[in-house]
Amino acid sequence: MSAPGFTNLDSSSAGYNQNQTPNGGAAPPCQNGPLPTHPSMYPPAGYYGVPPPQQSYPSIPNHATSAPSKASITSSAHSHNYYQNNHQQQQQQTQLPQHQVAPSPYSAPPPSQPYATLTSLAPPPSNAQFNQQAFQQQQTLYTTSGPYYAGAPVYPDVSYPSAPASSQYAPHTSSNTSTPGVMSTQMGAPLHQFSALPPASTAAQPGYGTGHQTTATMNGKGSTAAVQNNIHQHYDQSHQAPHNYNSYSGVTQSSGGADGDRPPSGTPSASVHSSPSHHQGLRYGYVANSGASSASATTSGAAAAPSSSSTDDDEEEEEEDEDEEAGGDTSSSSTGSASPVPNNYDSLEGGSYPDSMPPSNNMTNQAPPFGSYGYHGMQSAYQHGQAPRPDASPSHSVYSQPGYQQYSQPFPNLSQLSAALGGLSGVPELEMEALRPVNLLQERNLLPSRPLEAPEPNLSPDLKKVNCCPQTFRCTLTSIPQTQALLNKARLPLGLLLHPFRDLQQLPVITSNTIVRCRSCRTYINPFVTFLDQRRWKCNLCYRVNDVPDEFMYNPVTRSYGEPHKRPEVQNSTVEFIASSDYMLRPPQPAVYLFVLDVSHNAVEAGYLKYFCESLLENLDKLPGDGRTKVGFLTFDNTVHFYNLQEGLSQPQMLVVSDIDDVFIPSHDSLMVNLKESKELVKELLTSLPAMFSQSRETHSALGPALQAAFKLMSPTGGRVTLFQTQLPTLGAGKLQSREDPNQRSSTKGAQHLGPATDFYKKLALDCSGQQIGVDLFLLSSQYADLSSLACVSKYSAGSVFYYPSFHHTHNPVQLEKFQRDLDRYLTRKVGFEAVMRIRCTKGLSIHTFHGNFFVRSTDLLSLANVNPDSAFAVQMSIEDSLADSSLACFQAALLYTSSKGKRRIRVHTLCLPVVSQLSDVYAGADVQAITCLLANMAIDRSISSSLSDARDALVNAVVDFVSAYKSSVSNLQQSGVVVPAAMRLFPLYILALLKQKALRTGTSTRLDERIFAMCEFKTQPLPQLMRMLHPDLYRLDNMSDQGALHLNDTVVPQPHLLHLSAERLTRDGAFLMDCGNVFYLWISKCCSETFIRDVLGCSSYASIPPNMSHIPELQTPLSERVRAFLDWLQDNRAFSSPIHIVKDDTSAKATLFQHLVEDRSESASSYHEFLQHIQQQMSK
């Protein structure tokens, strides 16, 4: 690469860039179209999203650096690109043409675009304009779509070792950024497919072979190394730029959508590789970078670029890369010029970039898109970071001074501003809507047409975008009241609902030597911290000012130095760290699974063993774990049986310990065996186990001793104990008596014996918890088995409880099917071992009570021996000190666990919410679903500690208090009736539904175990599941229209409207689907249309529908396809797949469906209208 070439290029590129300006202004459709979407999509894109354009390119093999002769390589690189795109987008190919449509004028020759731009650099400006527009178009496309694909593979290699996680990003971001409307909906499936990417990334690696491989790898290490050598960075940058360019071409091909585009693109790219064009490529890349980071091509950046590049030219060839980087930096700093704080910026920018002033003024038009970037201010700030470098160009130092001030200003401003915005412009319409008083006695149709979404916190858009997903982290009040007094006035509970270990589609995984945390409160750095300047950040929980460590200055995403605000930790509110040995007490434990199986006569009779063994055999290879995974088996009736599975034995040996008063372990090293080594023996055992006990006549069950044995067996390692129990334990420690009086089942006074009968199981669970053993209980009992005592063993060891009442393998196929489905999910789901979770919150807030399965170790620390992706937690909060001095309240949940692969990891979720001082704001931000779930948890605690009727009264009082508080404080209307704000209009309905749940109902016959199980579910189920159980979703299926339907891949998922849960909605000629969370009911009315019955159920008439039908046949009719698409879509949204029951109007199963119609009057509970009247009466008292 010759210096002269550079100068030429620079000048040309400068011209090009400047041309860009008018175009940028002149062609708003090009920019504005995609741009605003970019911000909105930004959060998912997260850290791959924004910075990536720079960072992602490097992964794409370096065409640009290669000489012309390397055409072949480049083409291969192209193919890599192409493949990468392909991988993600096999199904998206249909989608991609839409990209082309957007840039309409230029779209006609999409593949040729890149080349046109490249060749046109030197030639006339008019061309350049055209190119530039085209380019911008590309830019928006590519920065969004192309680079990410390319970028994604890099992450796993460099610093984000978890390939799957990072790989999932790419499609996501791309989809979001490119064509939000259409793509976002379609992206669901590609995400799943995307696991194919990591290989692609490795495929792309060879591209580095052109000679940059070394540097590339250096970088890879550099990201983990504490301080990155400058030179390396520059190399990176240089690579990146070319890669950009290449990636464009690559992307254009793919965006062309046809495979045929590939060869032509290959040839031009080869021609491109002459050094000038190469340089142009660089230029492009850099502009693209700026565009990507700012979501538009900034003129000021363009203006700044020439100056920096000209200074670069003075330097040696080798440093050209640095120059590029510098250019990139200036551009990025210029992107900072278009900020949500235009005034600030104009003045600041004016000082820092005198020559870029005019364009920057123009750019203020583009401020809105920029506003999306939470930390735009830092971009300019970052420039300063470059300045101190010895080799930095002098021009930088000019900028650096004013740039410095920028940090200190934009950042505090940001939070203040957000608060101000929140108060002023923060969606007043929405707030008004949320506060609209609703008289429940008059308005009958309250349900939204689609399931309720979580309300959005009233934050500034940039904070909103990075905020934690409501499915993971939800607060009952999305506007936190300033003081406890205000909270008391609102009469609503303040609390969090957490689903911390949820299966995530995308999760940034971060490896670094130092995990940046606040020095005083140990909060992990998160998107809501404030950067005072480049080297200091202020904790958002305790407000302490901390230093930014050196390593944090290097950004592995952009591969640049001095951009801490662009680090993934600061761009994502949900991140996962690979923890160092500081976070270990002992080497991470292997995945250890012990199965404790009841083989007494009762169990043999129920016949679960065969199905369990089948399921485990099937999933043996899918058990989460690595080469160290250990398994063990233990069976018990009136004795405890161990199985020696030592490798080398010809068949499993059974060891019987009959001394149940003092159980001992017969052999220490051969009972828990390495799954890999002893797989054959394990398989043999599983095949022979069901037959071994088929003749068992032993009716006693020594559960306690078996659990003690399990504890002894597991205590050296910790792990997961899976317990299958089919009856009341009758022998040894922990034996229980039947406490249930069947005559009391339908008592209206309440239920007795909700608490445990003995503390044996609790103590055992605490011991287990101490040894990092989690116990999961599967209770398959037809008789009373005292679940309230047995469940303790799971409750305090952070396990989960499954209950199958009246399980029998032939008599109860419904339960059997559910058992099998649950087992499949249970055995293969992720598991985290030896976990602790700590929840931190802004100073002034404190944690009151936890709900869920765990042991509370200290006020904010939960000990979780096992953590599974299906259990959720609830936390009650209280406000101890006034929050008046802060406008934002933050909550951070950090879950430290050992993955099944033996990695110590920390998953951090951060939620940020505004603090308000007005009662009306509190009501406007109330999240009715979260409030209901938290109240349900509190009611269950109350019913155990006090009594059921007490808990029910408390729930009714919660509604009464709230309605009267609202009436007296906010609404000035003197109208009578039950008036609530619109945001809370479903509150009385949900509470009524809660009172009719198995857990809390009285008067209806409810078996004690089922009641206790419902309580356990309330404590552990995640919110969406809980809401479906509480208030099932009812849809009418026979007249579904495509209106508002989702388009996923190539299937159309209709979205029928929600119906009220009342029998009056079940018309006589319809087919209705009720989604109860863990089961579906398809209700077929008597006069249901023949076409529906024929097309969906495959039966000729209503009469010919079999009585216990429990599946939907796969018919090829359009109606059937739509119904199944809808059902599949519903299934995809939950962890455990639910069985479907087809219920005819005349069968006895009708009653099970009708008990879910909570708005109707039942034998012992009032209807919704009566409930409202009751509340009104209570209020007037």
Partner: protein, 157 residues
Amino acid sequence: MAFTFAAFCYMLTLVLCAGLIFFVIWQIIAFDELRTDFKNPIDQSNPTRAVRRTLFPRVCPNQLVVPEYSIHGLFCLMFMCAGEWVTLGLNIPLLFYHLWRFFHRPADGSEVMYDPVSVMNADILNYCQKESWCKLGFYLLSFFYYLYSMVYALVSF
């Protein structure tokens, strides 16, 4: 100057009361440890420390509760025998409170007064702390009252 049974009772209760004060202070420290655990900035996520710290209150207050109650019961018994009705009257409310507390402990048959799984509940923790402070005040006051009464019993005859 007479060494009556009442004087003996007061001397004994004086010693035992010092012991009770010690117990209560111990409890206060234990609850405070529990509560302020998170204030310790170092090694938040280091489970050993947390384990050690929680084991402490899990064991200690519970082991001290029954001795405390029985010692207090002994006081009442002795004052009844000695015919010190005023002193007995002062102690009766606490005796009833102890009896109530003992019979309303967690219902699952465990002997522990402070349930390790629910003691971290803010309400319960607050209650326990308040209870301990009140008792400390009561025992301190009664300590001086016993001292005075002892001297009075010794010199009055």
